[in-house]
Symmetry: C2
Subunit: 460 residues, 2 copies
């Protein structure tokens, strides 16, 4: 079992300075320089950080040319160093890069293509540079339009890092204060709690309770924001429909329902948007991360009605938001997703990968392995593997999850852990997973081989 | 005189839908599509918006190939479509683009180069994507480190657009509420107020008053943030030293002094940073706009002491912040500024341009022109031209400033207006102004020719 450094209380799977002796002298020197100039707010992944110099498709390479299988990064959705994105950005940078207060064509073309991916009345978009900015703007719009303040989020939600968004991001830990105008509710927990209609009722009951709690404190209600796959709560997908039921309660109380699609959006779940599986049309949608394949761009999508209530009174200008270069990258990403049929691919590859993980989990259980997987949950290429105590089958086992993260890292396979109890393996590769290289499903094969080995080792 | 649309109350120099008839059918159609999909929060510059398709150096080009002299945009500091930035970004996008939780070299190299431009104890940097994010983080750090809430800004300050930063951005207008934890003070006004020691005393007295006001309301004090050239207050440069005196009062009261260098930074004023002319070392510095020549990157620079007090308790992660592609752009910008000696150039070209404007203003005054320029203020290639009533020499004349903006636009020279009274012409071209093209100082010559013609026309 891997030792638990003090870092873990701050960030799961963080660099452990105590493990520095195991690093190469070059890596140690680089980390020393890094700590001196970037300071203590920065964190590195892994007890032994990964020093990368090149990326291609679903693979990263270190300075020695070693190949890492990237099963974690959702930003390079259409692949590290994607040639179409690269060419589009390179061409645009040689032509024009300015802001949205001059009239340019491409931002309008892209806005029309993007909004066409949503059901009415979601027909307008405002561009920002980051998901945090987009969440911040969506919350600001919700507060302005409703006249309210109170926002409901899930108990281990992550929505971003501006001052306002940190207020609704309890997963930043105990040193990040959550004010009274943020209400926390529990995500459905299919390992420890009920399922089906009972889970939906329990969730909506909490939403009603939070709204009543705001009223009791004299805090007018503004709305609710939820990551449509509840990534940082450990990826809570079931029962389908619980978010639609919650959205209805929110609207009946005069609030707006905001879908945070920064992680699930753009095909990750095997559909364009994660909220689709809940049969839901949000009031506002926030998109980001994979939108420009790493070139900064994010957005808020909403109805003309909501946007007008905000925009006719307050202008919004984001100097780099929707600039021609970011739009060129985002356009290339849409082209890649559509022309390479990456959404259907995400669904199929995700099914294959999660089936394989389930099989390994079942095999491990049969031989009485020391680690125990309660559930393998997935939607497309976003897969959660939840570790619990084999004794009772419910007590979270974050050490087991972290050991798998480290064991896979030792085999040069990149994932991380997440969830309320930090006991959930987060497998979330670029959408191009398995589309390049030789052999049938080469990335899945490599992942499952590594995962089986790590699972086997854990029993020894 | 140009008519004043209702837009002006919202944004000076905004598009006037009433002038749509004067546009080409293509531009009208594009604006219709734009309004449908981007919505009402977006604003266009100019009664007749400029439709741009290409940029090079200090020039933009429209669809018909017409050449616009860009005397306004500070983001493309090293020139529109700068070849070095283009090549660096294109190469990096073909190699690696990931985040700062893996170990990479270039972000550390750049961080060391950037922090070396500041005096001790400013030695650390946190990267964000936008100036708004960086201001938001700086304010969050100041609040955390001091335990305070109250922030002092100038009365027409612009600092950005997150929820928290909008609270300290009174220039967003009457529909943007300013809460009690934001105190507004007047910038020195060398046209209407005193100068020298009296102006410094008046400014610091207001800072003391704001701190006392917070105390009276039970709002603990956090600090003060000022754009080092007070751009949106109309560019207030004199008397040099008034910001140092204010910073001292802020520190004595336990607050942090934050320099907003998003507009003045990176050589704009003829020095690396705008605060230098005040003989000041801030506690935190925010940089942005020109940092990546339009590729989104911004940052907060501070001391290890302040960063530790924040970062040891709260992690900060910005997915795209300091990514290898943005760092490649920022590195190319530093190379350009240093190797082309653009800071000395900014000082010299700015002096030439402001001298020329002053001469035209003096000539106009001599012949009794209808418009009257009270002052031409400048620091490097950031020049403010303040229009007042010729009758009393102090009453702001925003119509005159707007007429000059429009008149220059008709001659394909781009500037805008700003300031508390919207009566200040803002001339702020790319730093490469005058470095390309044929003839001696071709951009200055073209600007002054156009400015003289517009000034002449205004008298008719």
């Amino acid at each position: 079992m891997v030792s638990q450094g003090s870092e873990q209380s701050v960030m799961v799977n963080g660099y452990d300075p105590g493990a520095a002796a195991a690093l190469t002298p070059a890596a140690r020197a680089l980390i020393t320089r890094r700590e001196r100039v970037l300071g203590s707010a920065y964190r590195l992944f892994y007890r032994e950080p990964v020093h990368v110099v090149r990326g291609q498709g679903a693979h990263l390479f270190d300075a020695d040319g070693h190949d890492y299988l990237d099963a974690y990064n959702n930003v390079p959705a259409v692949g590290h160093s994607n040639p179409r994105v690269q060419a589009a950005v390179a061409a645009q940078l040689a032509t024009l890069n300015t802001h949205t207060r001059y009239l340019t064509d491409d931002v309008i073309d892209y806005a029309e293509r993007l909004t066409a991916k949503f059901a009415p009345p979601l027909s307008q978009v405002i561009f920002t540079c980051t998901g945090s900015e987009a969440v911040d703007l969506a919350v600001r719009m919700a507060r302005r339009v409703t006249g309210g303040e109170g926002i409901i989020v899930t108990r281990n939600a992550y929505h971003g890092t501006t001052s306002t968004v940190a207020e609704i991001t309890p997963s930043l830990g105990p040193n990040n204060p959550i004010p009274a105008r943020t209400a926390l509710i529990d995500a459905p927990d299919s390992v420890r709690g009920s399922g089906g209609a009972a889970a939906i009722a329990a969730f909506t009951e909490q939403v009603r309770g939070a709204i009543a709690g705001f009223a009791a404190q004299g805090i007018p209600f503004a709305g609710m924001i939820v990551d449509s796959v509840l990534s940082s709560d450990g990826m809570r997908l079931e029962p389908a429909g619980f978010l639609a039921a919650a959205a209805q309660v929110v609207r009946e109380a005069g609030g707006l329902y905001i879908a945070d699609e920064v992680q699930p959006g753009f095909g990750r779940t095997g559909a364009w948007w994660g909220f689709e599986r809940h049969g839901l049309v949000p009031d506002l949608v926030v998109v980001g991360k994979p939108m420009g394949n790493g070139v900064p761009i994010a957005a808020v999508v909403g109805s003309e009605h909501v946007f007008d209530a905000f925009g006719s009174e307050v202008r919004y200008f984001n100097t780099f938001g929707g600039n021609p270069v970011s739009i060129a990258a985002a356009t290339a990403v849409l082209d890649e997703i559509e022309q390479r049929d990456l959404i259907a691919h995400s669904a199929a590859a995700g099914q294959r990968l999660s089936d394989g993980i389930r099989q390994i989990a079942a095999d491990a259980k049969r031989v009485g392995a020391a680690t125990h997987i309660a559930q393998v949950r997935g939607a497309g290429l976003f897969i959660a593997v939840e570790y619990v105590s084999p004794t009772d089958g419910v007590t979270p086992d974050p050490q087991a999850a972290l050991a798998v993260v480290q064991g896979l890292r030792d085999r040069r396979i990149l994932v991380s852990a997440s969830g309320t109890y930090e006991n959930v393996l987060k497998v979330r590769p670029p959408l191009v997973f398995d589309t390049e290289g030789t052999g049938t499903h080469p990335d899945t094969a490599r992942f499952l081989e590594g995962f089986a080995a790590v699972t086997r080792d854990a029993g020894q």
